[in-house]
C-alpha cells in the first residue's frame, strides 16, 4: 500500500479475566481510507475500537493511530481522533449547542473558535434550528448527527464511528452515509464498525470481517466477493423442464445447488455478458423462462463462507463450497 498507515494494528489482544475477547488482530488502514469493520454482536468490534481510541488498555499486541502508540502516546492519539461510539453517548439534559461547545472545550479549542465551530457544525448536520433544544427531545437520527458533529469539532485526522446507523430509519441512514463520504472526500480516514453489510459495501474501501475475536477476511468488498465465486443467473422456469434446462446450463457454467423444483442457478463467469448466451440456448431448446435475474455475491455470502453463519448470528447449514472460519 502506497499511502501511509493511519491505523496500524499488530497482534492486538484483550482478555477479560479468562475470556480472550480479541485474539491477535492485525489491521492496516491507509491515510484517507474508509475501513469497514464487520462482525456480529460480541465478535470483538467494539472492544477493538475501544482499544484504538485509548478507552481500553490492550493486554497484548501493539497499535498506532495517526502515527502514535495507543498506550504510550494515548494523549496524542486522543488529540488526533474523533469518536462517535455505539449508542450515541449524549446527555439528554444538554442542548445540542451546549454539547458541541463542551466538546470543543474538551478538545482544547479557544472559546470563540469553539463557538464558531459549533455553529458551523450544527449548520452542516442540519441541526441549526434544533440547536437550543434539549438532546432528550431529538429523534434517533438527530442524535446520531449531533454525535457525528461533536466528533468532528477539532477536524480529526482519523474518525472512529461505532455502528453509526444502528437503529436508524433508511432516510437518516442515508444522511449519515452522505456525511461520511463527504468527510472522507475531505481527507479524513474513517474506521467504521457496522453490522450492516450494505453499509460496508456502500462506504468502505476495505473491509475487515471479525468473528469470535479474530479477523477472518480482509480486502476490498469487490475482491472479497470475487474470492467466493462468480455471479450467477437465477432462472425461474414456467414449465416442468428443469432437467433439460439444467443440462443446457451445465454447458455454460457450474450449477449451484437447486433451491426448489422450478429454479436453476448457474454461475456465469462474465456476468451480464453471458446472459444472452443463456437465453439463446434455452430458447433454442424451446424452454419457457418465467424470469431471469443476475445475482452477484454479497458480503453476506462472504460472511457466511468465512464464518459459517450469517451476520445476524443465524446459523446456516455448512456451506458446501467453503468451510467455517476458512
Amino acid at each position: 500500500m502506497a499511502a501511509a498507515a493511519a491505523i496500524s494494528v499488530r497482534g492486538l489482544e484483550r482478555a477479560f479475566d479468562d475470556v480472550l475477547a480479541v485474539r491477535g488482530v492485525d489491521i492496516e488502514v491507509g491515510e484517507g481510507e474508509i475501513y469497514g469493520f464487520l462482525g456480529p454482536n460480541g465478535a470483538g468490534k467494539t472492544t477493538t475500537v475501544r482499544m484504538l481510541t485509548t478507552l481500553l488498555l490492550p493486554t497484548g499486541g501493539r497499535a498506532t493511530v495517526a502515527g502514535h502508540d495507543v498506550v504510550a502516546e494515548a494523549r496524542q492519539v486522543r488529540a488526533s481522533i474523533g469518536v462517535a461510539l455505539q449508542e450515541a453517548a449524549l446527555d439528554p439534559l444538554m442542548t445540542g449547542r451546549e454539547l458541541i461547545r463542551l466538546q470543543a472545550t474538551l478538545q482544547g479549542l479557544p472559546g470563540a473558535e469553539g463557538r464558531r465551530r459549533a455553529d458551523e457544525l450544527l449548520e452542516r448536520v442540519d441541526l441549526a434550528d434544533a440547536a437550543d433544544r434539549r438532546v432528550g427531545a431529538y429523534s434517533g437520527g438527530m442524535q446520531r448527527r449531533l454525535d457525528l458533529a461533536a466528533a468532528l469539532v477539532h477536524e480529526p485526522r482519523v474518525l472512529f464511528l461505532d455502528e453509526p446507523t444502528t437503529g436508524l430509519d433508511p432516510v437518516s441512514r442515508k444522511t449519515i452515509w452522505e456525511e461520511v463520504r463527504a468527510l472522507n472526500d475531505g481527507g479524513t480516514t474513517v474506521f467504521l464498525t457496522t453490522q450492516y453489510l450494505e453499509e460496508a459495501d456502500q462506504l468502505a474501501d476495505n473491509v475487515g470481517i471479525i468473528d469470535s475475536g479474530t479477523i477472518v477476511a480482509e480486502g476490498t468488498p469487490a475482491a472479497l466477493k470475487a474470492e467466493i465465486g462468480a455471479p450467477h443467473v437465477r432462472l425461474q422456469l414456467e414449465d416442468g423442464s428443469i432437467a433439460e434446462a439444467e443440462e443446457i446450463c451445465r454447458g455454460i457454467g457450474a450449477l449451484l445447488p437447486p433451491v426448489d423444483g422450478k429454479t436453476v442457478l448457474v454461475e456465469v463467469e462474465h456476468g451480464a455478458a453471458d446472459i444472452p448466451r443463456v437465453v439463446r440456448a434455452l430458447d433454442e431448446a424451446g424452454i419457457e423462462v418465467g424470469s431471469l435475474e443476475l445475482v452477484h455475491p454479497s458480503l453476506d455470502d462472504v460472511f457466511v463462507a468465512k464464518t459459517g453463519h450469517h451476520l445476524e448470528k443465524q446459523k446456516v447449514p455448512p456451506a458446501s463450497s467453503a468451510p467455517a472460519n476458512a
Binding site: L55, R75, V83, E87, A89, D91, R101, L106
Partner: protein, 279 residues
Amino acid sequence: MEGHSLPRSEAVGRAKGSANRVRTNARVVTALGARSIRQTFRRPQLMAPIVVFPTILLAIQTGGAGGAVELPGFPPVQSFLQFMLAGAMMQSLMLAGNSGGIALAVDIEMGFTDRLFAAPISRYAIVLGRLAGTAALGLFASLWFFAIGLVFGAEIAGGVPGALLAIALVTVTAAAVGGVGAAIALRTGSASVVQGLFPLVLVVLFLSSAFFPVELMIEPAKTIAEYNPFSFIVEGVREPIVSGVDATDTAEAVLAIAGIVVIGLGLSARALRHRLRAG
C-alpha cells in the same frame, strides 16, 4: 549541571506546552462544573434533596422543636433556627455530594464519560469538574440557608467575616463529600448503588451534632457524635453563626475536611485508575 539542562528553545517550548495544558484543563474543569450545575437544576430529582428536603426539615424542626433551646445544657443561642442553620447546610451539602455521585454514575451508565475519556485532557480534570459543580452547589446551599435564616430573624453573630467563613467551609466540604460520592460512582458505575447511600447520609448526620447538641445526646450516640468528623465541621460552621469565629473550632473543622478530602480524592483516583484499566 549545564550538560544536563535542556536547550533553551526546547525548555521554553515545554513550559509553554505545560502552561497550555494547565489552561485547557482549567477550562475543562470550569465547563464540566457548569454542566454539573445545569444538570442539577434541570433534573428535579437531583435538586430536591439539596434544597427542598433540608428546607422542609428545617421548617419542621424549628417549628416543632423550637422549645429545645430552653433545655438545661443546651448551648446558648439566639434561637433554635440560628442553631439549626449549620445542620441544614450540612444536610444539603452532603446530599449535594451524593447527588453528584449519582449524576457521575448516570454519566458512566449512559456512556457519556467515554466522550470525556476520549478527549486529550487529564482524566482527573473530569472528576475535578464534577467536584467543582458540587462545590458550587454547596455555595448555593449555604447562601440559601443564610437567606432563610436572615428572613426569619436569625442573627449571624460572627457578622460578615463569620458568614464568609461558614460559606467557605460549607463549599469546600461539599467538594470533599462529592469526592467520596465520585469514588463510589467510579468504582461501581451504578447510579442505584450511589442512590442507595442516601439513608446512610442521614444516619451520619443524625449521629453528629448537626441537628442536636452533643451535650444532650445519650450513649452510644453521644460518643459516636463526639468523634464523628462531621460534628467538627458542623461546629466549625455553627460557631461563626451562633457566637462568632473561634480559631479552635475552625482549625478542627479544617482538619476534618482535609481528612475527607484526602479519603475522597484518594479513593476517587484509585477508582478512576481501576475503571480506566478495566475499561
